[in-house]
């Protein structure tokens, strides 16, 4: 994606949210309560996806209410609350095996009602990000992470930040699109370390020249 395209996209996004908030006007809390009640009534258990998944935590509720454009003050508060919940690796190490990371990144499975409880969840990374140059089937909802390690280096603070983003992207940007892989128990500590390695390890295809 070239710079012009990005600017174009950013403009569209901000315009869209602007018009959306005009339409919504002041939030109609009565209507919101009604919508929430309808959702709670109209969804049911299927497979591993239980009905209580529609119950929102404070972050989900705030992002929904403001259509992902929460006021700055609230945003900072939400992010701080998420950051507090990050469980950092006890051994102080953030890097695992990039090969295992690549496999995880490829897998888009996990947590749907058609997945079995014993099926391991994948990282879903390529659904939204470009990573290895060899994989041309990548999504563009998230930024390209191609050459990420080449750009950022491997300092411990970088490793820690990447681990934190994977564990809970919302600690850095409250209404980010990215799931909270550690916070929600989607991936294990070891799996998240493998993904850190996929991004930062010089041997990883993400950083292949």
């Amino acid at each position: 994606m070239n710079a012009k395209h990005i600017i174009g996209m950013v403009m569209t996004v901000s315009l869209a949210t602007a018009s959306a908030s005009v339409l919504a006007g002041s939030h109609d809390s009565k209507l919101e309560a009604k919508a929430t009640a309808i959702i709670k009534r109209d969804f049911r258990d299927k497979g591993i996806a239980k009905a209580d998944r529609v119950n929102q935590d404070a972050l989900q509720a705030a992002c929904s209410k403001y259509e992902d454009d929460v006021p700055d003050k609230l945003k900072a508060k939400l992010e701080a609350a998420q950051a507090k919940e990050i469980k950092w690796p006890a051994d102080g190490k953030y890097m695992g095996d990039w090969k295992a990371g690549e496999k995880l990144a490829q897998s888009g499975r996990g947590m749907t009602w058609s997945d079995k409880p014993e099926d391991p969840a994948g990282g879903n990374c390529y659904n939204c990000h470009q990573l290895s140059a060899k994989e041309i089937s990548y999504g563009t909802i998230g930024p390209s992470l191609r050459n990420y390690g080449n750009k950022k280096g491997m300092k411990e603070e970088v490793q820690r930040s990447v681990y934190g983003h994977i564990y809970n992207a919302k600690a850095y940007n409250a209404c980010a699109n990215m799931p909270r892989f550690g916070h929600m128990g989607i991936l294990s500590e070891a799996q998240m370390k493998d993904l850190v390695a996929l991004l930062l390890d010089p041997e990883s295809p993400v950083n292949a020249k």
């Binding site: 969804f43 888009g108 009602w113 041309i136």
Partner: protein
């Protein structure tokens, strides 16, 4: 993907920051290929068979009451099928509800034909093994709105409310992945893997997307209804299952249908 192109792409990726531009061109050509394929078989859409099956079901006496559905009122008067889908969902006085096509068919099948509701909602979608009557009926009805402009009303207070609730559902983030419909369908020009994603907040994308459903899915060999489309979106959203023809699904359909107003209805469509 031909190897020459791959090689040139890798070269560009290695030497220039504009690598992604090249990749984007590749993506376009893939969608173009799909578009070409679609055009090639557009006059051979297997959804036609489902429409035929639906028409037969509509006209043939059925259910415990051995009645046909020819007295079913889809909003334009009893038995009027032509153009009915282009004005759905809408408010119905007899049920005092806003109903989409499938919810309305459910009403007609239970009241006119006497089929128990649970019997229909237990398996509302077609499978490899068995077609679904309500889904085939939907294929027939939508086919009768081909070429007609979408004109879904929000005049009735209940219709307006359904639209607003649908919009809230569209933006409702929940579940283990924190996804809302808008997470994938709220920005323009993005994709999951190679799959282009329509931005359903914009008129243009909503029109193209909405008017091409229901659709025959080549990869599944089945014609899929709009309720199925929503159901499978929620599956991928990691939500629990929306109840068939429930108020939540109708409200969401209302939001999407109104966003598509003005476009010519073009279904049943054909998807990969």
């Amino acid at each position: 993907m031909n190897t020459d192109k791959l090689a040139s792409m890798l070269l560009v990726l290695a030497f220039a920051a504009s690598g992604a531009v090249q990749a984007e061109e590749k993506a376009v050509s893939d969608s173009e290929k799909i578009e070409q394929y679609r055009e090639m078989i557009s006059d051979g859409n297997p959804a036609d068979f489902d429409e035929m099956r639906g028409e037969e079901l509509w006209k043939k006496p059925g259910g415990p009451k051995q009645a046909s559905l020819e007295k079913c009122d889809l909003g334009k008067g009893a038995g009027v099928v032509k153009g009915a889908y282009a004005e759905l969902p809408r408010y119905f006085k007899d049920t005092r509800m806003v109903q989409d096509l499938e919810s309305r068919l459910l009403t007609c099948m239970t009241t006119l034909q006497g089929i128990p509701e649970e019997e229909i909602t237990a398996k509302p979608f077609a499978s490899d093994k068995k077609p679904s009557d309500i889904s085939s009926l939907a294929s027939y009805v939508v086919g009768q709105s081909k070429g007609i402009k979408m004109a879904v009303s929000t005049k009735h207070p209940k219709e307006k409310e359904a639209y607003q609730i649908g919009k809230l559902i569209f933006n409702y983030r929940a579940g283990p992945y924190d996804f809302a419909c808008s997470t994938c369908h709220g920005t323009s020009g993005s994709r999951i893997r190679m799959q282009d994603l329509p931005n359903l907040n914009t008129k243009e994308d909503a029109q193209t997307a909405y008017t091409s459903w229901p659709a025959y899915r080549v990869s599944q060999g089945l014609t899929r209804s709009f309720q199925w489309r929503l159901n499978d979106c929620f599956r991928q959203q990691r939500f629990p299952e929306p109840k068939f023809a429930s108020e939540a699904t109708v409200a969401l359909t209302m939001f999407l249908a109104v966003n598509a107003n003005g476009a010519e209805y073009a279904g049943p469509g054909l998807k990969r």
